[in-house]
């Protein structure tokens, strides 16, 4: 869509609201989406010339509805053969207390949230949830999404269309999830936003220019969810985590896209505005909402953000937070990260003991990050030979090119200049 930035921003904001309104009224998610795309296209060409209508959302809903009813009439015969009137049912009861609208909120905003719940349907694979969310809620074109995931457009088109079919097949309605499912479904939505952010963030080191927009999109959508659920601590926690992570982006890539680990980053290049916003969010959430994993992860990112130098990092505080995280959300990756903190606080030996226990965990055995953290601990312990060997082992099993290069360089440094290696950086995420 080529149009001026202001119109484009407005259209992206309105896209899910319009789609929500049309699906709520007529059902037929698939056809409704095409109709909304046509309406957005019409707006993108007409508005810059004729001016933005007084009620832009109403304009779009009217145009999209007209397109949709034309479309439905024209293939009514074909449609009759299809059993699924899945999402044509009227909306169910409003969301449960706590998430319920306060009556003031524009219905368009509730539609955005309902649409997110629909796109992040638990029956879909994470890849499909992501693709559908970007298309239906984010308003990205299939071509843009395909480019972001480095797959052909036809592959992405199939993935999106299969996702819509699956949703129709589950008989899901365009309605907020029932009270009993609300929390679980919100967790899926947040996870999808988290994956979307990660997908873009990981890509920013790869020299791809089209993918960082995924981080921007994830932040934009998480902000939208936060506006709808301002009291939810995990929504705030996730947004804070994204902002605090995004703040480091300018410093995490060296020349040629090489990864710069956290300990070696030029902290003056961190985005202070994002850090301040993230810190305020996580502090607010931790003091007012029930504790959750995203808030703790954001708090850990906040401790890093507050350290002016790597050496000034409050590792005991980070270790305490990882202990807490492991209690409420245990898993091998959390244990691995905790091992890094243990190494910094209590030394490499207890950390290596912790890692030894992880080796029997089949979810982690042979994972390159386990070998990388072990290498880091050996390095701290002064065992350069073992460290180089483990860095090489980690490089062999890494499936990311920048990570492999980083790990190989680390191994080479240790092997080449014994006794003169630079101070070990942490292997925590850059």
């Amino acid at each position: 869509m080529r149009t001026d930035a202001g119109t484009e921003r407005l259209l992206r904001e309105l896209a899910p609201q319009v789609l929500g309104a049309v699906v709520r009224r007529y059902g037929h998610f698939d056809a409704a989406e095409d109709a909304v795309q046509e309406a957005l296209l019409a707006a993108a060409t007409q508005w810059p010339v004729q001016g933005v209508p007084e009620r832009p959302r109403g304009w779009l809903v009217t145009v999209a509805s007209r397109r949709l009813t034309d479309q439905l009439r024209s293939d009514e015969a074909r449609r009759r053969r299809e059993a699924a009137a899945a999402m044509a049912e009227p909306p169910g009861p409003p969301g449960p207390a706590g998430a319920a609208p306060d009556g003031e909120r524009a219905s368009g905003q509730d539609d955005t949230l309902t649409l997110l719940f629909l796109c992040c349907h638990p029956e879909l694979t994470p890849a499909s949830q992501l693709a559908l969310t970007l298309r239906a809620v984010g308003g990205l074109t299939t071509a843009e999404i395909a480019r972001a995931f480095l797959v052909p457009e036809s592959t992405m088109a199939q993935r999106i269309s299969r996702a819509k079919q699956r949703i129709a097949a589950t008989g899901a309605r365009f309605a907020a999830p029932p009270a009993g499912e609300w929390a679980g479904r919100l967790r899926v939505v947040l996870h999808v936003l988290y994956l979307m952010f990660n997908e873009g963030y990981a890509a920013t080191s790869g020299g791809e220019t089209s993918r960082p927009e995924l981080t921007a999109e994830a932040i934009r959508l998480t902000r939208a969810v936060r506006r709808l659920l301002p009291g939810d601590g995990e929504v705030a926690g996730l947004l804070a985590l994204m902002l605090l992570t995004e703040a480091r982006r300018p410093a995490r890539c060296g020349p040629g896209g090489a990864l710069v680990p956290l300990a070696e980053q030029d902290r003056t290049r961190w985005d202070q505005e994002l850090i301040h916003e993230g810190l305020a969010l996580v502090t607010g959430a931790l003091t007012t909402a029930p504790l959750g994993a995203y808030q703790i992860e954001a708090a850990i990112a906040a401790v890093h953000a507050e350290a002016a130098t790597a050496a000034g990092t409050d590792w005991p505080q980070i270790l305490a937070l990882y202990n807490l995280l492991e209690r409420i959300s245990p898993g091998p990756v959390v244990t691995l990260n905790r091992a890094v903190a243990v190494a910094m606080v209590r030394g490499p030996r207890p950390a290596l003991d912790l890692l030894a226990a992880l080796e029997t965990d089949e979810r982690m055995a042979g994972h390159h990050r386990l070998a990388a953290v072990r290498a880091h601990c050996h390095e701290l312990a002064g065992d350069r030979g073992a460290a180089a060997g483990d860095y090489r082992a980690a490089a062999r099993t890494a499936t990311s090119l920048p990570e492999r290069r980083y790990l190989e360089a680390r191994a080479a440094q240790l092997a080449a200049a014994p006794g003169r290696a630079r101070a070990a950086g942490t292997v925590g995420s850059p």
């Binding site: 994470p126 480095l150 797959v151 052909p152 199939q158 993935r159 080191s205 499936t399 990311s400 090119l401």
Partner: protein
């Protein structure tokens, strides 16, 4: 995550197979491609011409040496490939297990290096 599925065959054995068996193989593979296309996991793939049509290229001291035939002398050769984008290594292996050539010869599943760095 993307995976390369390399299809191995013994070209001599393949040639000696009755046409009906070859067709059954191709149909079976075609059905899997259709299924992967519909699920949005299919990225691409092709069959390769006979290994005897291959050229192996090496440059030493700036001098190219081009020899006819595949890189590795072996009875079993790469005769085709698929690229799939799927959730996990297990899923990629599951696809390879179903590929008809796996029953007679073999498949090799290799993760494709991602240009991306670590996640947050």
């Amino acid at each position: 995550m993307k995976y390369l599925l390399m299809i191995y065959q013994n070209p001599a054995t393949w040639q000696a197979m009755p046409e009906s068996d070859k067709k059954a193989f191709m149909d079976e593979a075609g059905a899997i491609v259709d299924e992967l296309t519909a699920s949005g996991e299919w990225v691409g793939g092709e069959g390769l011409a006979d290994p005897s049509t291959a050229a192996s290229v090496r440059v030493r001291d700036g001098v190219p040496a081009v020899t006819d035939g595949p890189f590795a002398e072996a009875k079993e050769q790469v005769v085709g490939y698929c690229i799939v984008d799927c959730e996990s290594r297990d899923r990629a292996i599951e696809i390879a297990i179903r590929w008809p050539d796996a029953r007679r010869w073999g498949m090799e599943v290799r993760p494709i290096l991602s240009p991306d760095g670590v996640e947050m």
